[in-house]
């Protein structure tokens, strides 16, 4: 993990105690804004990303996964500068704002069928599966 941002590493500090902070309400969907700094192959950049999740840890997991997928940034080259819970009106990313609808409603357009347990997965099926579930 990088220590540029806080200039604190194992040798410059001493861990006194470690406590896990639990999400206050893990059953409330929130909009998280994560400001981060990461090293790409050619330089280091700042970013602010928004995620919808129920816990901060979940949002951070999403962030690491997205950075790995979109920017090929590994965990150790990402430094989280700040995190915040945003109100719906404060969000700016359309991918998050599209869920700000009290009457949200969408069908399952394409469902790839799956057996309810790995045990029941078959290599050959009697009929071609349909992806329409109504």
């Amino acid at each position: 993990p990088q220590h540029d941002h806080k200039k604190m590493k194992k040798t410059t500090g001493e861990i006194l105690s470690v406590h896990q902070i639990y999400e206050k309400n893990p059953f409330l969907v929130k909009n998280y804004a994560i400001t981060l700094r990461y090293n790409s192959r050619s330089g280091t950049h700042n970013m602010t990303k928004e995620y919808r999740d129920t816990t901060l840890c979940g949002a951070v997991d999403q962030m690491y996964a997205e950075m790995a997928g979109l920017h090929r940034a590994r965990q150790d080259s990402i430094q989280i500068i700040s995190t915040a819970v945003l109100k719906a009106s404060e969000c700016s990313r359309p991918s998050v704002m599209q869920f700000h609808d009290s009457k949200i409603r969408f069908p399952i357009a394409h469902r790839v069928p799956r057996a309810s347990h790995k045990r029941f997965e078959k290599k050959f099926l009697p009929a071609r599966p349909t992806t329409f579930v109504g």
Partner: protein, 154 residues
């Protein structure tokens, strides 16, 4: 002949299959779903909120269906035709009230998914004597059908 083929291709004939392909079930707050994968397989739950395009927050409630409040992937739920009138992030009390008002647990038993689940549960709860009774009943039914068929053939 090429002309005919081109004309046929232009006419959009809705086959019975295509005509039925209209979305009637939606991922929405209050939609009653069945969980189709995981440890809560074949249990009912209600969508309380939508997290994002892949996930929803659901609740049984636990005392009614055995499903506690949690985030689940949409791939793991099957939408039913039933829907309750609840608000986003509804409390367990209000969900229970809505379930009672719409008699969801009984209505679900009439749904195709509900029928399948109750049949599966009944069959897996059979003991050896029940299986014998079933076999005997089917045998008797077969005999009666054959006898009637023989009469009709004469």
């Amino acid at each position: 002949r090429g002309e005919e083929r081109r004309q046929a291709a232009q006419v959009q004939v809705a086959s019975p299959q295509q005509e039925k392909m209209v979305f009637t079930k939606f991922v929405e707050v209050g939609r009653v779903c069945v969980i189709n994968y995981g440890k809560d397989v074949d249990k009912l739950c209600v969508i309380i909120n939508v997290v994002d395009v892949n996930r929803v927050l659901v609740d049984g409630p636990h005392s009614l269906t055995g499903v506690s409040r949690h985030v689940i992937n949409i791939k793991r739920i099957t939408l039913t035709d039933l829907k309750v009138d609840i608000g986003m992030h509804a409390t367990v009390k209000s969900i229970k009230k809505a379930f009672e008002k719409d008699d969801i647990l009984n209505k679900f038993k009439e749904e195709p998914e509900g029928k399948r689940i109750s049949k599966q549960q009944r069959n897996s709860a059979m003991n050896d004597f029940d299986r014998f009774k079933l076999k005997y009943a089917l045998k008797k039914k077969g005999e009666a059908v054959k006898k009637k068929l023989a009469e009709l053939r004469k």
